[in-house]
Amino acid sequence: MLWNTVFPYLLSGISVGGQYALIAIGYTMVYGILRLINFAHGDVFMVAGILMVYAVASGMPLWITVPLVLIVTSLIGFLIERAAYKPLRSAPRMSVMISAIGVSYTLQNLVLYITGGLNKTYPTIPWISDTVEIMGAKTKLVTVVTPFLTVILVVLLVLLINRTKVGMAMRAVSKDFETSQLMGIRINSVISVTFVIGSFLAAVGSVLYFTNYPTVIQTSGAMPGLKAFVAAVFGGIGSIPGAVIGAFIIGIMENIIKGLDVILFKAGIISKPLGLATFSDAFTFALLIIILLVKPTGLFGEKATDKV
């Protein structure tokens, strides 16, 4: 009985969790290497959504638009790093973070200008938009596809990081920025690769996310972005499996909170709805603060020490 009540929320949660995971990887990788909260990452995710809207509207067939959007988004990620973060490499960390906030502000305003500030309807992508029924709950196929695709991509990414030369360079840079520079690693290209991978995954995430929730506006990226960041911190920043697990936990918890009134009501704990759904976003941040206080390194993070 209780399972039947909880299951549909779980399903929504797993789906959105997978999409957060794909964004969270970008945060965690960038943070791992640059120690930068890339506030613009959520907006890159949103831009990918807008690109798709316009690409499809221009009449191109879908087998061109999807790869095109993935490539262009990766390119945007690369350009943002080159234009806004690279010149500040030697500046204090706060300056880079402010620059990231500036980029986020710029991307949102650009999209506001282009779209006229109106919601754009995301194109329907065949197959993954089909409705399926799982254990009595109807949903889009993308809900089912997302977790699997996420896991596949993560495995590929982990292989890339552990088995290739670029991956080794990335690990080296995230361990010790300066030493790896001295060892002859071309820092700038490693950082660029990181941004390209992060943006690519965000673009994949955006295809899945907006297929499920098919409206894009300039602020669409802000909340998913913040939540994905929280997921990255939760899982231990710098750790890719951590970010993925964190994202699933946050996605599921968020949807459970939205349905908490019903669940408690059905379980007989409360007699009237309390409007707890109001806290669905706030809960994510409460979780963040708790994890920061209890285990600042997150679930799988490495212990960092202060250097004097």
């Binding site: 500040l88 300056s95 402010i98 200008y113 109001t278 806290f279 409460a286 202060d306």
Partner: protein
């Protein structure tokens, strides 16, 4: 302003004082002479409000080195406390229409409500600071940002409706126009609606300047420069950080109350992270670590966004030639590009760490505050 460096007020300090006084006189005269509907006064009112909030943020981010992104949350508290305690009892039934007029059935004078707004914001800051201030740099930033979001959700919760009016708008409280002196027919005799926010912001910013020149201020700067060294010098880190956080939040709360007066309505929905970012950008444009910069930055930012760059949002014709690109939203694009240029190429902002009196000291630009 500079009594630490010389016993008698220096020439620079006197000059600065005269300039500030002249601005106040000018504002007062302009308000009596120019039509009250002019955009100038909107800019001045909102600019004064933002100046206070930006300075309060600078106190934290620029002077103490605590990178907090919770400003919007504290402004929200200030705005709500002010509004909740000043709505006339007779109007409460219509404002709290879904909550039987709410449970607060008295009003406070506006200045008491404003001070209370600051105090409640400071109290929340103290509570939040207990756990959060233990965190470092960007973790602190994201945690304060998270708290601002949590505060927003709590104020919107319908179970608190009798106090906060749930997520609905608070309105009909005294606003800046209530300061105008009117005759029996309702005609305005003396306009005070712009000079009063100037005075409030001026007094608050003056207090912050005094604080920065006290022993506390020097300790804050020491923490900013090097936390570990400051601790080694015997500065109680936890205590001073908490002080800075609470004081900054107090003034953010007062700023929130001013924003409520400016907007004439308050709604939790509008105190988003975007508002914090906007204030942070003002601080950056003005110069991180300069009070004068934050103040000038605010007026410049508000004037550009509300007034001078407005034309970019409308189609313009030069003769029969339509200027390309101009349409709704272009103003913000231009704005963001300017901000990015400042962030990337003019990292010191307008003023760097220079203050107004420093401008009159030839060759000793950073003497007063360094």
């Amino acid at each position: 302003m500079t009594k630490k460096t010389t016993r008698r007020p220096s020439r620079a300090a006197i000059l600065s004082f005269i300039i500030i006084l002249a601005i106040y006189v000018l504002v007062f005269v302009a308000e009596q002479v120019l039509p009250a509907t002019s955009m100038l006064f909107t800019v001045l009112k909102k600019g004064a409000t933002y100046a206070l909030v930006a300075v309060s943020m600078n106190l934290l981010n620029g002077f103490t080195g605590i990178f907090s992104l919770g400003q919007a949350g504290f402004m929200l508290i200030g705005a709500y406390v002010y509004a909740m305690f000043t709505i006339p009892v007779a109007d409460r039934a219509s404002v709290y229409q879904y909550f039987n007029g709410g449970i607060i059935q008295f009003t406070l004078p506006w200045f008491l409500a404003m001070i209370l707004a600051g105090l409640v914001a400071a109290l929340f800051a103290w509570l939040i600071g207990l756990p959060v201030l233990r965190l470092k740099s960007d973790y602190l930033a994201i945690a304060t940002l998270g708290f601002a979001e949590i505060i927003r959700a709590v104020f919107q919760w319908k179970e608190l409706g009798p106090v906060t009016n749930g997520s609905n708008m608070l309105r009909l409280f005294p606003n800046f126009n209530s300061f105008n002196i009117t005759d029996a027919d309702g005609h305005v005799v003396v306009y005070l609606s712009t000079i009063v926010p100037f005075l409030i912001a001026g007094i608050c910013i003056g207090l912050i300047v005094l604080l920065l020149h006290s022993g506390y201020g020097r300790a804050f700067r020491a923490i900013h420069d090097d936390e570990i060294a400051a601790e080694a010098m015997g500065i109680n880190l936890a205590h001073h950080k908490r002080m800075a956080f609470c004081i900054s939040s107090f003034f953010a709360g007062v700023g929130g109350a001013m924003l409520a007066m400016y907007q004439t309505t308050v709604q939790a929905k509008s105190f988003t992270t975007a508002m914090t970012y906007e204030i942070l950008l003002i601080v950056v444009i003005g110069g991180v670590g300069s009070i004068t910069g934050s103040v000038c930055g605010s007026f410049l930012f508000v004037a550009c966004s509300e007034w001078w760059l407005r034309f970019l949002d409308n189609e313009q014709f030069i003769g029969s030639f339509q200027v390309p690109l101009l349409r709704n939203g272009f103003r913000l694009v231009v704005f963001s590009i300017i901000i990015m240029i400042v962030v990337l190429f003019f990292r010191r902002g307008l003023f760097g760490t220079t203050e107004l009196p420093d401008l009159f000291r030839h060759g000793r630009k950073e003497s007063a505050l360094k």
